[in-house]
Amino acid sequence: MDQPNAIIHQPVRLKIMAALKPLPPGELLEFVRLKTIVGATEGNLGAHIATLEEAGYLNVEKDFHAKRPRTRVALTKDGRRAFEDYVADLRSIIGADS
């Protein structure tokens, strides 16, 4: 295993997955908070969220809160498993080389 999951293995998408991983399963994180943690621009973050959603790794919910549009995202079961596999792959690369 020399090349881990290509969908996750992209700096912004990796940070999105890592930011959502510590939350309780199914817990949604607001887009604005995710933007602060990841440190990406709105457009860039939105595009990468869409990629992860298409892969079935993220659940995206859009609604209105206090009369303002709100976007929230959460890891899906598949997303959590894929991220755990990705981390395991990274560890195996380190282990294989040492």
């Binding site: 020399d2 090349q3 881990p4 293995h9 700096p11 990796l14 940070k15 890592a18 930011a19 959502l20 991983k21 510590p22 939350l23 309780p24 399963p25 199914g26 817990e27 949604l28 994180l29 908070r33 602060t36 943690i37 990841v38 659940n59 919910e61 929230r72 959460a74 981390v87 990274l90 560890r91 690369i93 380190i94 294989a96 080389d97 040492s98």
Partner: protein, 183 residues
């Protein structure tokens, strides 16, 4: 191109860093409304203690209201499948009640002032422990501040302790909640 061992190690470090930042922000945002709620409860409770010391039983409904409020906030803040009750919340509250009851049975407070100072110190201890274990420095600072303010009021302003705790203790929790919300 295959990933090298160094690149994999760097990626793992990036992941750990982001996970820590996210967990800390989540913890602060979760704690914030609880702190604000209990800040208001303290202001009311200690305020009544000061104005009408004979009404100290008011703490019972206030604690019940605060506990129900905290439970409601916790449930409301969670979303999606995360919105499930966790028996550990109830078990933790029960353990604290049993501990305090046992402690007071063994070492009963001799004055109302001692009892009034005990609970803020207990709260300060919880904040400090949360801060230490979750590596959340703001919680640790809040715990230290609550403890310091309580001790100052107890030793330096015993006659004004209730109003001191209402304004400085309750106000401090309220401001602490606002402080954590903006992380």
């Amino acid at each position: 191109m295959p990933l090298t061992s160094n690149e994999a190690a760097q990626t793992l470090r990036d992941i750990t860093q982001t996970e820590r930042r996210s967990a800390k922000a989540y913890g602060y945002n979760t704690a914030s409304p609880h702190l604000m709620l209990w800040g208001v409860i303290w202001m009311i409770g200690y305020g009544i203690d000061y104005a009408r010391p004979q009404w100290s039983a008011v703490w019972i409904p206030l604690v019940v209201i605060g506990s129900l409020g905290s439970f409601w906030i916790g449930w409301r803040m969670r979303s999606g499948t995360a919105r499930r009750s966790d028996w550990r919340h109830g078990a933790t509250a029960l353990a604290v009640v049993l501990f305090v009851s046992a402690l007071f049975a063994v070492i009963p407070p001799r004055t109302g002032l001692q009892a009034a100072a005990f609970f803020p110190l207990l709260v300060a201890l919880f904040y400090a422990l949360i801060g230490i274990w979750l590596k959340a420095p703001r919680m640790l600072m809040l715990g230290a501040a609550v403890a310091a303010l309580t001790l100052f009021g107890f030793f330096e302003l015993p006659a004004l302790f209730a109003i001191w705790m209402a304004v400085v203790g309750g106000g401090g929790l309220l401001l602490g909640g606002v402080w954590l919300r903006n992380v």
